[in-house]
Amino acid sequence: MVVAQVSSPEVADAGARFLAEVGAKTAGVSRLEMCIQCGSCGGSCPSADAMDHTPRGLFALIRAGERDEVLHSNTPWMCLSCYHCVVRCPQDILITDVMYALKVIAEEEHTYPNNVAPDFAGVFVGQARRFGRSWEMGLTARHYLRHYILRLPRMTPMALGLFRHGRIGLLPHQIHQKKQLQAILRRADELERAR
């Protein structure tokens, strides 16, 4: 276990740098530097059991500059985006968005602990970019074939059930202005890379 100890100036520097990096990556104003390590987040988190560090623990590691440990942690990937921690945090820290920011950095550097969630996000987003809409059928089929072959026998009747109830289409819906959307996203990609 890594115990966070901000003792030497080097550690403090690395911590400040990483804290600033995560803050800059967060969509809203993260306020992560205001964390008082109270632990309300971990105590409220329905997913804490599955995490290798509680949110509080992860924030201590960020402050200690343990960049590697943080970016390899499964914590952001186990976050459900339930915002329980956010409404309970006495310091109004955007914990969920910090988790998103950490996932984005881990995606860029390929440090995620396993590729199931990143793959799912990748396929989902690829289809949304291509069609302008998400495509449940295509997404689920591809995801199960790649990652959950063993779950397929149970999933097939389920997919058929959805189909029978008219709840899943074989073909994706598409928007008209796909070119416009893609132009916006290409420019957004450039801007993201240039940050």
């Binding site: 969509a27 809203g28 459900l80 985006s81 956010v86 059928m137 149970r154 916006i184 957004a188």
Partner: protein, 334 residues
Amino acid sequence: MTNYLYYPGCSMEGSGRSYRESLEGICEPLGITFEEINDWNCCGATEYVSLSTTPAYAMIARNLAIAAGEKKGTEPLVAACSACYLNLAKTDHYMGQQPALNARINDALGAGGLHYDPGTIKVRHLLEVILNDVGLDKVKAAVKKPLTGLKVAPYLGCMVPRPDVDGAYTNHEQPNDLDRLLRALGADVVDYPLKTECCGGHMTQVAPKVGLELIRRLVAEAEKREAVMMVTVCPMCQINIDAYQGEMNAMFHTHYKMPIVFFTQLMAVAFGVEPGKAGVGREYTNAKKTLVQALKAAPELTLAAAGVAPAARKPRPDKRALPMPRMADSEVEE
């Protein structure tokens, strides 16, 4: 008729189809109309924001820009899916909060000839619109077939009451909004303390053990509270609890059969729409039978409740016929 701009979201055309169908059935009685914004795109759910920040928010903002271009007065943009609602609301909020993010998003939107000024569009969730704009009096007045005796667990899920960027909720963990609405329909709303717990979102896809355990807790609690069905406001919650209940049962060796429907479906049915037309029956665990039974049982009871007709009293059984335990005479004397 009050008009609203409307963002349906992808699942309304697929797995959440019954949400859309039932929404159509409640507009007229409530005196509202929804105008779907033109050529809207996917909000990216919770996936895109986990992958890359600027493109994720630019994709969401395209919808806000389209809505801003179509708005004629002060109409808000209404979303029914919790994830869509939160993404749209958060994007508007963060663009206003972070000038750098705003600049990047508008730079990207510009590549498609669009622009969006944060604050132009107010994003709202359907449930909140019905409660605050339409009001419960109007809802009650529209009820033709009260859902008397139907024991429902009000399941709001997480992303509507939290993080609540616009401060629409006074209570983020135990709000009673959905309870009040369902009660207005005549339903018997059970106390459901897990009402804002998470259904796991995409966890059924990326970490099934975690996801299925969350579903188990929700369903087990609803059953423990003697609800005959759960009621939701979110297509993601619906599909998780409905379609994955079988896999969850297999994993935990349980036998739950808990139907889950959208609140709009119950509204439509209470307003007199035939259940099938409100999309009831598209669930895995069929809610139709339970619902139809409740409707059959309802009319007399509600006439009585409304004070129109006195409730027929069961004749009191003859006292002598009651198998009451009696004290032995000897005991009485002592």
